[in-house]
Subunit: 286 residues, 2 copies
């Protein structure tokens, strides 16, 4: 980055926060990288793994004097953490987050944080099945999108700093308003999760009629339902934070399912083949 | 098998037919294993790979004198092939198939084939992304279910023979009526495919609104949509063959999606978490 920072504070040193810390340290983006979290053993591990220089269990100490604070807690705690750190931040500090739904977080942060603190919403679209500091690695964000979601209140200097930070990770940085981000994420990420949850739920409802139903499942179902094993708490929170866009997505999906059912009902093989082929072409092109 | 057969004829020597042929040869289940198909180069390859002893491009020659004929063509050709071979079969020959929808095939076969030919429907729930004789291997069916679907007209001796054949492959043989098979498969296999196709279709409809939408897709969507790259022709045919059960499945899935949308609408986090957790527990238990 053009300007080396004095202190970066990462709140929540798990897969995302830990990987970001590791990159900041490896690239010497700051004089020191501090971590904060609830579990001391995790924070100690993070220091051992070189993800952070040091940690504090005291939120005030962790963020005090930081040029840049990254809120990398689970999405449901981001706003709460923002409220807590607000009184301890130094003037002109830049605060950013990594939450996977943006509109509610960004709007609320702009209400919570005083005018002399500069907030920039961000969402690195990266992740693995694993979590925790042991899962962190420096290539996590390489060639993945990181979407920044400035608003009419966002400071340009802060936006530039957060952009530089994410460019340093190897991510492809994209910028759009929070609402557009949420609508796109609802479609490409949240909706597939809802579909997988709904599918497993559907089968679970049918199991009374067909005992042992799940014992027959084949590869297709297994692959499809893998994402249904994601954290229920996290997904509940994403649903509540991005409700409107997810509901809209569900309606589109229900419509697409009806269209298929109707084509089957009418014995319209041509239409079915067209829908399936279109999907295959798109899928194979990914 | 208790009785060594003289001649087994496999019509369609691809992944399924080829793997079955390989096992029949390795275990010396028959004096000779014949193959038939449309592509001579594929059949020649199948002989080279040891999947069959010999082949004929003439359907009559391929099935003539066979004790057991296995229809392993794509699902849309099974009935047609049954009609074609009918006049050439020897008395008391056993005919079986590997189609993934059973009711229409089984009922139609019972109409087509004369009384002195014994038909038994079967469906090995196995497969890989690959197809063709090169993809065949002897462990394909190991520990997978193979569902046999006898009816009131099925000959017990023939059922026993087909059961023995599939037990030799290492498959877990299960027996149920064709209608139940189709309803279970609609849920565990056909419905996930419909969901994946519908999901990709939904996003494709939204792409006009969000150009470049697909460039943002993350791992979840990729895994989920993998099955949307299956053969459109095959899935069209499965839909037409198992329409009623698939439509029922789609209705259950649409209901489960509505339930989630409603819980989001009502801000009912508790209900969302319960649905997601239930799905996770089931998924993790697979």
């Amino acid at each position: 980055m053009r300007t080396r920072l004095e202190k970066i504070a990462i709140i929540g040193v798990g897969l995302i926060g830990g990987s970001l810390g590791l990159i900041c340290r490896e690239k010497r983006l700051a004089g020191s990288v501090w971590g904060h979290g609830r579990s001391e053993s995790n924070l100690r591990k993070a220091v051992e793994l070189g993800l952070i220089d040091r940690y504090s269990l005291d939120l005030r100490e962790a963020v005090e004097g930081a040029d840049l604070v990254v809120l990398a807690t689970p999405v449901e705690s981001i706003i709460k953490t923002g409220e807590k750190i607000s009184p301890f931040l130094r003037e002109n500090a830049v605060v950013t987050d990594v939450g996977s739904a943006k509109e509610k977080i960004v709007r609320r942060m702009e209400e919570i944080l005083p005018r002399n603190i500069r907030f920039v919403g961000a969402h690195p679209i990266a992740g693995t099945e694993k979590s925790g500091p042991e899962a962190a690695f420096a290539e996590l964000f390489q060639d993945r999108y990181c979407i920044l979601t400035p608003t009419e209140y966002t400071d340009n200097g802060a936006l530039g700093l957060v952009r530089e930070l994410w460019e340093q990770t190897g991510a492809r940085v994209d910028v759009m308003d929070p609402e557009k981000h949420d609508r796109i994420l609802a479609l490409i990420s949240h909706l597939p999760h809802m579909a997988a949850y709904a599918l497993v739920d559907s089968l679970s409802k049918k199991e009374r009629e067909f005992p042992g139903l799940f014992s027959y499942v084949a590869g297709g179902f297994r692959d499809f339902s893998r994402i249904a094993s994601s954290s229920p708490v996290m997904w509940k929170e994403i649903c509540l934070q991005n409700g409107k866009a997810i509901i809209q997505g569900i309606e589109v999906l229900r419509g697409a399912l009806s269209e298929i059912a109707e084509a089957i009902e009418n014995g319209n093989g041509e239409k079915l083949e067209k829908i399936f082929l279109n999907a295959k072409v798109i899928r194979d092109g990914l």
